[in-house]
Symmetry: C2
Subunit: 377 residues, 2 copies
């Protein structure tokens, strides 16, 4: 078996279902990847993550490189063994974190130097080193190193970055060893459609196993992002998965699936959970709201998650206000379940060629719930 | 069925096994109660706590009174329903926290006034209010309000406190309603054996369902504490359980079981877990120690807990150093499992009339492990 295969199994409007075969088993798309930044989906065991319906998780190479170190993970049998996750893992390149988290970075043709946000140590990423690090982690889906320009970067700057990204992608591909996992290229180009098209062209010229849309959800307007996706996704080869990096707001998931995106990751559901905000079909529920103090209802009556089956809003609010560890865990279980069920619902709808009515139902339910936080149920 | 019954089922040296029947099912003694201060054993679900072997948990009335409020819990069906714990619950009186946590307290014959450590609100506890609060929680084993004098309190002061404690205990008993849970009296008297004996006499004059040894492990020398227990426990009626409050160091559990104690609670195993310290038969293992960075072994090879069956010391150290939520949870699972297994081992040994050889084995293993932290395994 190869590193990655992808077949489209159903289509509905602009959306598609697919079956992605990885080295560690199949993944049904469209898929949402819970984020396990530091080799842990915050607060949950791998069994819980799998039990919520996740088939693929993401880990961050940058964080693991800094702590405990990719070589340490390799010495312990790789990331799957280290963290106890049996399914496939996608790792990012670390580039995004270098550009968002680390201090004092300097970019040159060879790579990027930066200081660790943990201890200030001087570090260096090159396209080759990033592939080697991901191979040490034994990643199933690796990402190439690219530059992540901020939203609003000048066109001329983006053009230069694109050209270097193409050279870096070729170097990454050449650096991958026989035993390395699948490698995904990244389409950049900001909000310039012609630059996106140019980036697609150069990335597709390489034998990548899939393609990511990068540099979105970084501060540009929501409709601008949607338009870039709508215009760029169709340019990509239909026989490879399309991954939209860093997007996970439920409404965005529904819309972007309709634009042909197959893969998503985002910290939003898990981070919001830790901030006491729960995702529901009718919108967000904020546990800080005093109206939940003696509310015996579950977060969502119709939800089948462990949290909703066993606990009241009143208890969840209490745990959150008391900063109890169980709070973060129960909230995370609900939010991940919500998002993973949403993806499962989208897949079922696509199979039944009912994407559009599913999306209409989703948005009308959300609309109904607006402002509900201010009112009694 | 009554509120609480207790029968001794086996004896070995000074230790005994018992079966305690509560309103919510049987409890085998000697028993360790995990602490769920704010209606949650930190980081764990009730199913996990039960799965670790816990039959009885403790919750803190003081904390729940302040947040979310005992009436709120009552309105939601009581503490069991609120937190999802099906088994029996022991609640303390809140007195200890008033004397250790809260500000500006003033004691009089009627009760104690204090300011909430959360928001400074002026609150008042009386023997009657404390029973009412515990009944609102629907506690199965309630504690009477008493004063908790600091270690080293003068003898004259302790004598006055004892006399008031006796009056308060009688008022608590009178205040209990028909539907109220079992009520346990508390023996005080510091390290003065004659005062302890006097306290036993006055507490035993009341129709209490059990007896606690209070005011120990509050700063006095370890051997002083052991001597007080050794001299006081035999004075208590043999047909009621003896509860040593706030003791949970493994070596202390083994010794105090040998002195006839039936019940224990302590935050030590769970708090240590959150501080990265793991309890083992050979002593404590501190995950901060760099020697564990690439150690593929489980915390304890022979341990059957979820953490030891699935994760390496290296991963646990990584999670702890990275302040991952899963760290506190996996460590807590191990430490609670360790203590609950220790209690199960003690019960088995007593049934086989082998308490003394069990205790010898325990201490020799601990002795062997001394200083191990500084050496490779």
């Amino acid at each position: 078996m190869g590193r990655l295969s992808f077949v489209t199994t159903a289509r509905s409007a602009g959306a598609r279902c697919g079956l992605m075969q990885t080295r560690r088993g199949p993944v049904q798309t469209p898929v949402f990847m819970p984020v396990g930044t530091q080799a842990s989906v915050k607060g949950l065991t791998p069994e819980e993550v799998a039990g919520l319906g996740a088939e693929l998780v993401l880990a961050n190479t940058y964080h693991l490189m800094l702590r405990p170190g990719c070589q340490v993970v390799a010495g312990l049998g790789g990331l799957h063994c280290f963290m106890g996750w049996q399914g496939p893992i996608l790792t990012d390149s670390g580039g995004y974190q270098v550009f968002s988290l680390s201090g004092l970075r300097r970019l040159d043709e060879e790579g990027v130097s930066f200081r660790s946000h943990l201890d200030g140590e001087l570090m260096r990423l090159t396209p080759e080193a990033v592939v080697a690090a991901q191979e040490e982690l034994d990643s199933d889906l690796m990402m190439v190193l690219d530059e992540c320009p901020p939203a609003g970067a000048a066109r001329g700057y983006l053009e230069q970055a694109l050209a270097r990204d193409a050279r870096w992608a070729a170097r990454a591909l050449a650096a991958r060893s026989e035993k390395g996992g699948a490698l995904l290229g990244i389409v950049q180009g900001g909000v310039y459609y012609d630059l996106r098209a140019r980036s697609v062209e150069s990335v597709c010229a390489l034998d990548m196993d899939g393609f990511a849309l990068g540099g979105l959800s970084v501060g540009e307007a929501k409709e601008e992002m949607m338009e870039v996706i709508a215009r760029t996704a169709p340019l990509l080869p239909a026989d490879k998965p399309v991954y939209l990096m860093g997007v996970g707001e439920p409404a965005d998931l529904v819309r972007c699936v309709g634009l042909g995106v197959d893969m998503f990751d985002c910290v939003l559901p898990t981070r919001m959970a830790r901030n006491g905000t729960l995702l529901t079909a009718r919108g967000r529920l904020n546990l800080r709201n005093a109206r939940y103090k003696d509310d015996p209802q579950p977060v969502e009556e119709a939800c089948g998650c462990y949290t909703c089956r066993g606990y009241s809003r009143a208890y969840l609010r209490h745990l959150f206000m008391a900063r109890e560890l169980l709070s973060y865990r129960l909230n995370t279980i609900h939010n991940l379940y919500y998002v993973l069920q949403l993806m499962a619902g989208l897949r079922r709808a696509i199979v039944q060629d009912a994407y559009e009515s599913f999306a209409r139902g989703f948005f009308s339910c959300l609309e109904e719930g607006r402002g509900e936080e201010a009112l009694p149920n």
